[in-house]
């Protein structure tokens, strides 16, 4: 196996967005591309990541592999390497080798760890409410609501998407009109979510400039970030205040 990419920054930012959610990830390397599916320990968030082989400058995979690594270590290594990165399996050892060749030739070996056998299922929901918008707007709205509280209400009502938070005497409301969205499938819907998770997820806005928000009533939120060869989907379970 040999993968070569010049998009190290992008990989690092993706991993940084999920490093607070999961300790370790299993990287599935297949002939078509690499994928990760992971869930946070509290089972509140699910991450689905895919990077197609076209995103790599060189992509040589003979047979599918599953490589489980400590995510924090990977993030720390990615901070230390140059733009061009080569990922290999260390021959004869149970480790992933990351090579970067700038003025200095750097080589990092990261041990592979045992995967916790989990077959994670993605929520099966047909969403009737969707809004696609500039991901910077989304990140902005999450930052705005975070200054007030710990939870946010996402709501589509009429022709607008709302982010609202109330905590003690403080209130914040962010409205994004249908016209400011790239696409808008309207049906009124409303759910509450933990901002702690959303703050991490919103970091993807730095590298992928569109996000599709799918919403229901007291249903998980689905965030689709995608560009030509990269896709990151988050599911976030809602908070339900009354039952």
């Amino acid at each position: 196996m040999k993968l070569k990419t010049s998009q190290t920054d992008k990989l690092r930012k993706i991993f940084e967005a999920i490093v607070n959610l999961v300790d370790e990830v299993t990287l599935k390397v297949a002939p078509e591309g690499i994928t990760i599916r992971a869930m946070d320990p509290a089972h509140v968030a699910l991450i689905d990541f895919e990077m197609k082989k076209e995103a790599f400058d060189e992509y040589k995979v003979e047979e599918p592999l599953e490589l489980t690594v400590d995510l924090k270590t990977v993030v720390n290594v990615l901070k230390r390497v140059e733009q061009d990165l080569v990922i290999k399996i260390k021959e004869g050892a149970n480790a992933l080798t990351l090579l970067s060749e700038g003025t200095m030739k750097k080589r990092f070996n990261i041990p592979l760890i045992e995967a916790s056998e989990e077959n994670l299922k993605v929520p099966s929901i047909t969403f009737e409410t969707e809004a696609e918008l500039d991901s910077a707007l989304f990140k902005n709205a999450i930052a705005d609501t975070s200054i007030i509280g710990e939870y946010v209400t996402l709501k589509v009502e009429g022709d607008a998407l709302y982010f609202t938070t109330k905590a003690e005497e403080n209130e914040v409301e962010i409205r994004v009109d249908k016209d400011s969205c790239i696409s808008f499938k309207k049906k009124d819907a409303k759910s509450h979510f933990s901002l702690e998770y959303l703050q991490d997820m919103a970091k993807i806005a730095d590298i992928i400039n569109k996000v599709k928000i799918s919403l229901g009533n007291d249903l998980p939120l689905k965030l689709d970030f995608a560009d030509d060869y990269t896709k990151i989907v988050f599911f976030l379970a809602p908070r339900v205040e009354t039952e």
């Binding site: 607070n20 300790d23 869930m39 946070d40 320990p41 509290a42 089972h43 509140v44 968030a45 699910l46 299922k121 993605v122 929520p123 099966s124 929901i125 933990s194 007291d218 249903l219 998980p220 599911f235 379970a237 809602p238 908070r239 339900v240 205040e241 009354t242 039952e243």
Partner: protein, 428 residues
């Protein structure tokens, strides 16, 4: 939904349990931060005045068997007072400084035990762990001793003061500046000595090694306070109150890391321990590690002296732990140690909420050992087990006076548990 679990429930006139009012300042300060702006804590002063300040020791010379025990003050840091605690009695006095054995003792017994301990004081810079002179060396050796040691102290002035109280540290008796000190033969604990003589071993490693070697938390804290651990150049005297929390924090952080690798418990459990008019209820739920200590102080208890309402405060951490010092202080770390110790011991992971009702009989602070040892005592008993959170909470309500709705409103972890859905509920 059962009305007890209704977070929007209004408390009735018969159950006047408003919260977060009244004496917030005292609960968040506990005599340590001087939040009221006075030079000394009026709450603690009141106890002093109410106590007979009969000079136990009307003399400049004192000899007795130190349990062993030492005290490192925090006033004047980085120049602090170090010295032994000495009772005017001989024999096996070890119980006097072994909080691990105090659960079940009455307030009077604790006061009687601790008030006879006279504190000798000798001023030293915190980094003078070595080369501070013979007296300092003796205090350090005493802290590492395996059992009681004969101590002869001669003071510059007669010991003064009554019982000295603090929220974190167990009380002690009058104090006096030391002129000289003599300590009979003492046997240093071999395990502690090994850590002491290893001048490359970081303090954290030393604490964890000793804990694994079954050295008691109190012994580790005692040696920690005299700068017995750590890389040579970094050794410092650590005020007793800080060393207690430092050791609780260090050990429990390590245990929590282990616990995160273990499978979840598969039922709801309720443990309990009652003492000194405190009720501790420990609720454990299947789930990833997270932990909270919620404390309810009745009016006229130590840290709610003037309030007319029960005051409730809590500190919590999620799976990732916390970065800021707990709002409610050292007791948070003491109970976290007891909790993680129990889970690590049975190789299980759980979400834990500890609910503490401090009733009016809890009239003065006795130290965080009270929380650590009560939670440990609770875990020594078989828990009641339940199949659902609802039935577990219904049982909890029969053991506590404050309504469940009030606990839930004040507990981040319980609120999360009741309101936060999980992904697998939607995977069909």
């Amino acid at each position: 939904m059962h009305p007890l679990f209704d977070p929007t429930r209004q408390d009735t006139a018969e159950t006047p349990f408003p919260v977060r009012g009244g004496s917030a300042r005292c609960i968040l300060c506990r005599g340590a931060k001087m939040l009221c702006g006075k030079a000394s804590c009026p709450v603690i002063l009141r106890y002093y005045q109410s106590m007979k300040v009969a000079p136990l020791i009307d003399t400049l010379e004192l000899d007795g068997s130190s349990p062993p025990s030492v005290f490192v003050g925090r006033i004047g840091y980085p120049k602090v007072s170090v010295g032994p605690l000495i009772p005017p009695v001989h024999g096996d006095t070890s119980i006097l400084d072994t909080p691990e054995k105090w659960v079940g003792k009455s307030m009077d017994e604790i006061v009687a035990m601790r008030s006879q301990l006279v504190r000798g004081k000798y001023s030293v810079k915190v980094d003078q762990v070595e080369g501070g002179g013979r007296l300092v060396d003796m205090v350090r050796d005493l802290a590492m001793a395996r059992g009681p040691a004969h101590v002869e102290a001669s003071f510059l002035k007669k010991p003064r003061g009554g019982l000295v109280l603090s929220d974190e540290v167990q009380p002690h008796g009058p104090s006096a500046p030391l002129r000289s000190l003599d300590i009979g033969s003492l046997k240093i604990d071999r395990r502690i000595e090994r850590a002491y003589s290893d001048t490359d071993l970081p303090a954290r490693e030393a604490v964890l090694t000793l804990y694994k070697d079954d050295v008691s938390v109190t012994q580790i804290q005692r040696s920690f306070s005299v700068g017995a651990f750590g890389e040579e150049s970094r050794r410092r005297f650590v005020p007793t109150r800080w060393s207690i929390t430092a050791v609780d924090d260090t050990i429990s952080k390590h245990l929590v890391q282990q616990v995160k690798d273990f499978p979840w418990i598969n039922e709801y459990r309720v443990y309990e321990s009652w003492s000194l008019d405190n009720r501790f209820i420990v609720l454990q739920m299947p789930g990833s590690w997270s932990y909270e200590l919620v404390e309810a102080w009745y009016p006229r208890t130590t840290w709610n002296p003037h309030g007319r309402e029960i005051a409730i405060y809590s500190s919590a951490e999620g799976y990732r732990g916390r970065s800021k010092y707990a709002e409610i202080g050292g007791c948070y770390y003491a109970a976290r140690l007891a909790t993680s110790e129990h889970l690590a011991g049975e190789r299980r992971q759980a979400t834990t909420v500890i609910l503490r009702e401090a009733h009016p009989g809890y009239i003065m602070p006795v130290g965080v050992w009270n929380v650590r040892e009560n939670v440990r005592a609770a875990f020594r008993e078989r828990p009641r087990t339940f199949e659902s959170l609802k039935t577990a909470l219904e049982y909890v309500q029969t053991r506590l006076d404050i309504p469940l709705s009030t606990w839930i409103r004040n507990s981040r972890v319980l609120r999360d548990r009741l309101h936060q859905r999980r992904i697998e509920e939607f995977t069909g």
